[in-house]
Symmetry: C3
Subunit: 189 residues, 3 copies
């Protein structure tokens, strides 16, 4: 029975990684189909999404507004793709961190061009409804240290002991306080 | 014994997702190495591949012709890459749907450029030989509703009850009827 | 007990594939965060990395030098992303081969552009510390046969019997002999 228990533990770790990969794999297709509530549901209720140079969204309603907002709708109307790279996942019980690239392609009169290339750090938590994003930080890879740090593994410990997920206490605002602040984007659409 | 059975069921679900990811991950490398029969074997015998604005292929022979055809051979000679993004998979017993992006890069005298950016809906079935693609629909993300719908999750039910794989009855034509219709592509090579 | 053993064997195969995907998924984030020792540790001690048209690195020290070297640091300062596609993995006990694309995006005054699009063949081995890359061969997809062959599956046997991992005997040079030879790159930075 001990042996079966050991198998169950190993299986659960694989299931967790699969669920996290699946969650993140849904972001691009949902964003590019304009599915605002689908995207918002990838996050926990008080989850945050920091889009470097573009917006800071706090809570599911604010995250949905990023998809329903003018900038994203403008991209959708032109034709766009939010392509993600594979994510490297560090799992630590009910929390996890995933790191990877995202690239936004945008269509204009001359064809497709590379509009934005970013680093992403995803912080994830296990909720009663499954894994959800508690915090995503995105920053354009423009030579600055910020984006590079998002992709860094610190001391690269795999055993999770160094996994630091920022406290979410300050995010536990009531849903009605969900806010999104949009900045003028430096890239012209 | 019940517990072992439960583990076996969970393990099989992970194996199915792994096999589907692997199947789809082979498409790009096989296409870009010019392996027509390898690409065709990713599909079921009566499988279809709709390449939006380019071609409609029905059956493995027709799918192989897409790789051996002039357009793809032209791309290969210039240097091209069919890069896929991660796929989001909804599994339902012996059927599955996967959604994700594909990007074709093409080399010209000035370097590489983004030639095509598409949405993909993959319908898959379990066959005696393992998972195969029964239907792939690809459409360029050009702002039209068609491509966006391919990436949409409908009501986003995860439990598979809403999974709709189109009937393949009409595709069960004899192999000799495999057809491919090539359209003039709107992008110049 | 036999049944539990069979589950354990299947589980281990999935764990191996997960570990290999994870290892390869770390390359891009580590490279773009400038983590030279992290990148080097993805390889075995005597591992090699052939960057077609750019460099031949042999041993972890040489691979670290690719990241610390002028070309890569130049890319990092401008802003770059080493985006990988999904890998198709053929597993054979303690060895494996993975095939997939990589794309390097680079930022210049006009935005991001596609700098390099390559084929990759990763040879991996199980070591006491887990899976490591024993050999990576990268070649730009420029229409040449070399890059296309890297993505090819030979006879596409899945059962591993045709898996050929090149002998690493000749690579077992002492670490002090780690060498890297840099070639002038044909693309201007």
């Amino acid at each position: 029975m001990e042996r079966v228990q050991a198998l169950a533990t190993r299986l659960r770790a694989l299931e967790d990684k699969d669920a996290i990969r699946e969650l993140i794999a849904r972001y691009g297709p949902m964003a590019d189909s304009g599915d605002a509530s689908g995207v918002a549901d990838l996050w926990s209720e008080s989850g945050t999404y920091s889009v470097g140079g573009v917006a800071e969204a706090k809570g599911q309603a604010a995250i949905a507004m990023l998809i329903d907002g003018e900038m994203h709708q403008n991209l959708l109307a032109k034709g766009c793709a939010h392509l993600l790279g594979p994510v490297a996942i560090v799992l630590d019980g009910d929390a996890a961190i995933a790191r990877g690239h995202s690239v936004v392609f945008c269509r204009d009169e001359s064809g497709y061009r590379v509009w934005r290339v970013s680093a992403n750090r995803w912080e994830l938590i296990r909720t009663p409804d499954g894994w959800r994003v508690s915090r995503r930080v995105n920053a354009p890879l423009d030579g600055s240290g910020e984006a590079r740090q998002l992709l860094g593994f610190g001391d690269r410990s795999d055993n999770g002991q160094t996994l630091k997920v920022e406290s979410h206490e300050e995010l536990n605002a009531p849903k009605s306080r969900a806010t999104v602040s949009l900045r003028v984007d430096r890239h012209r659409l």
